[in-house]
């Protein structure tokens, strides 16, 4: 910060003061004047000290940030030079990180620190990785901004719950069916939004997410409305159930002592397999004509048309395949929780999944993993903060956007490469 010259100081101060003032204006009504239930009725009890704390924190934070930015600017010429080899070595590092990461995920349950809590968090993180990968097809690859992705998650969850409830079908039959239902609803959503782009697409998909939630909430006779559905059957391991009983259970078959961890570990491997399947299929699709068409569509729809790509089919397949993975993840969610209600499928879920995709670096598969670990794992670490968790979540997002404005991994790997030497 010693490089700061005196000319830069006034604008920095001004900017920080303005930010402080905006905080003041917002904080006074929202934080400064809380209502309390007193015996004489509703009363206002001002909390000026909190307001002052907030304003000074924002002012100082902004000031520090400004200084940081300024420092960045003065040293930017050297960072650009450093950038390319740095990126290359990062690329090489990633080649090792992927197999190590998968290996780690595979042996995680055998680790000494793999307590029930750790496994629960891991399952949660991987669920979001899978959802992120699913949405990545729609948003990251095809470039269709979908704010209602949670609808497919909900459809998958309710498909399983309802099929299991009404017909008593096993998880393994319902899982593909849930994928099919989600795919169909993806196409249903796709049709009306085919001609929309950008903001308008976002608004309609947002509406779609809400419509599904509202239907689930109000169709009481069928879905149980706000009460949700409970007693959703747990999945079995090739017909062996995870129960404390002496016959036909997982533990008795393998001659193990019953432990509730068995089911957790089984669920962990289940979601890990589903997520890896999602990733595998996406990576394959990227190299096929349909995947190339998605990416081309994201870059330039008009150029796509003039190369003979049918944008209708391309968009519908993106919606359908993205939705399928959402649906599969939804079924998993239902069987893991054993209870679902519309409350689990609010807009905030869509927003979190979208944040994972965007912060990961649109279209990057590893970016999604990193963002899920940071955002979901990170907020889980802050569980003690209770109601401030969302604040931590927001701060993490802002942090990523400040340091990595194009996402954690903005690099796009080409789908075809020919060595430069050879070939005339």
């Amino acid at each position: 910060m010693s490089v700061l010259n005196s000319e830069k100081l006034p604008p920095i101060l001004k900017d920080s003061v303005i930010t402080g003032l905006i905080t003041l204006v917002l904080a006074v009504p929202i934080v400064g004047l809380p209502t309390i239930n007193a015996t004489e009725g509703l009363q206002i009890e001002p909390r000026w000290s909190v307001v002052i704390w907030m304003v000074s924190a924002v002012f100082l934070g902004r000031l520090v940030l400004n200084f940081w930015w300024h420092r960045e600017q003065t040293s930017s010429s050297s960072t650009i030079l450093l950038n390319t080899p740095f990126l290359q070595s990062l690329q090489q590092l990633l080649k090792f990180i992927i197999p190590i990461g998968v290996l780690f995920a595979l042996i995680l349950p055998t680790m000494p620190f793999a307590s029930r809590y750790v496994m629960d968090v891991a399952i949660l993180v991987i669920t979001y990785i899978m959802l992120g990968w699913g949405l990545n097809i729609v948003v990251g690859l095809a470039g269709l901004l979908d704010l209602g992705y949670v609808a497919f998650y909900a459809i998958g969850a309710y498909s399983y719950a309802l099929l299991a409830n009404y017909f008593d079908w096993s998880f393994w039959i319902c899982l593909p069916l849930a994928g099919v239902f989600a795919a169909i609803s993806g196409i249903l959503l796709g049709f009306p939004v085919l001609r929309l782009r950008g903001d308008y697409l976002a608004i309609v998909t947002l509406g779609f997410g809400e419509i599904i939630r509202v239907i689930l909430l109000n169709w009481y006779e069928f879905t149980g409305g706000p009460d949700g559905i409970s007693g959703i059957p747990r999945p079995s391991f090739f017909g062996l159930e995870f129960k404390r009983s002496s016959e036909g259970t997982f533990s008795s078959f393998f001659g193990l002592d019953y432990s509730s961890m068995h089911r957790i570990i089984f669920l962990y491997y289940l979601i890990l397999a589903l997520a890896l399947l999602t990733n595998f299929i996406t990576l394959r699709l990227r190299k096929l004509p349909v995947g190339r068409a998605w990416e081309a569509l994201r870059e330039d729809e008009i150029a796509c048309r003039s190369l003979g790509i049918n944008p209708t089919n391309t968009k519908l397949t993106a919606f359908a395949i993205g939705a399928t993975f959402g649906g599969l993840a939804g079924s998993f969610f239902a069987t893991r929780q054993g209870f679902i209600s519309p409350e689990s499928f609010t807009f905030i879920e869509s927003a979190v999944i979208l944040a994972i995709v965007v912060l990961g670096g649109m279209g990057s598969q590893i970016g999604v993993v990193l963002a899920s670990v940071v955002l979901i794992g990170g907020t889980e670490l802050f569980r003690e903060l209770e109601e401030y968790r969302m604040l931590a979540f927001g701060a993490l997002m802002v942090g990523i956007m400040v340091w990595k404005p194009r996402g954690l991994l903005a690099h796009r790997e080409p789908t075809i490469r020919i060595k430069t030497e050879g070939s005339s």
Binding site: E295, A296, D300, I302, R305, G308
Partner: protein, 240 residues
């Protein structure tokens, strides 16, 4: 000679603005036909109407005996029309090879290796830069890529909108040479829209001059080059 494309009485509107006022024009198989005209004459609009990117209000566009006036773009392209559009429209985040792959969409990349080799033979510069991202190519290289990408579908009819726009004279010559080779070696019928009237008319079998949304003059390339009105309006300032 068999007709590749024939256009009769074509009228295209943008809202209330009429851009094409009854265009009549035909292109025979194997020809290079060029269309010249001032800015805003409606040249790009005509190409876009052929591809179905804008819908004509009246008139007919017939491709090898089939009426394509109302067909959607992707179907027209699948029938063997290809274009290097105005503004090139390269996919910027994709590499040269990926752009070429997308050009081969209509034939499912059946002849990919062979066709890529042809494109690289036509434009060796692209070979040197095949793993580079489209957006980082120079303007001229992007133009080569746009033409190469259009060739990947093995078109019967290639529509080109100002391939020499914003390109240095030396490269312009290369690009026109390449267009000549495409016509001769690949037997592609070419419809070339150009501002660079001198080069275009020299290369073309026939030419049309468009003024204000309608064809005002037609003839062989050499005839048009010799016409004083053409020289005055499009060749002043010594394009040679």
């Amino acid at each position: 000679m068999a007709e590749m494309l024939s256009i009769t009485g074509l009228e295209t509107f943008y809202g209330k603005i009429q851009a094409l006022r009854g265009v009549d024009l035909h292109i025979n198989k194997g020809e290079i036909v060029t269309l010249i005209g001032a800015n805003g004459a409606g040249k790009s609009t005509l190409l876009m109407s052929i591809c179905g990117r804008v819908q004509a209000r009246s008139g007919a566009i017939v491709l090898e005996g089939l009426d394509i006036t109302k067909a959607p773009t992707h179907e027209i392209i699948q029938m063997g029309v290809s274009q290097s559009p105005e503004g090139r429209r390269i996919f910027p985040r994709m590499t040269v090879l990926e752009n070429l792959q997308l050009g081969a969409t209509t034939n499912q990349m059946a002849y990919f290796e062979e066709d890529v080799a042809k494109v690289f033979d036509l434009f060796p510069r692209l070979n040197e830069r095949k793993n580079q991202r489209g957006g980082t190519l120079s303007g001229g290289e992007q133009q080569m890529l746009a033409i190469g990408r259009a060739l990947m579908s093995r078109p019967k009819l290639l529509l080109m909108d100002e391939p020499s726009l914003g390109i240095a004279p030396i490269l312009v010559r290369q690009i026109f040479q390449a267009i000549g080779r495409i016509s001769k070696e690949e037997h592609v019928t070419i419809f070339l829209v150009e501002q660079n009237a001198f080069h275009a008319l020299k290369l073309a079998d026939r030419g049309y001059v468009m003024v204000n949304g309608a064809v005002s003059m037609t003839g062989t390339g050499a005839e048009l080059l010799a016409r004083p009105e053409v020289r005055a309006a499009y060749l002043e300032g010594g394009a040679h």
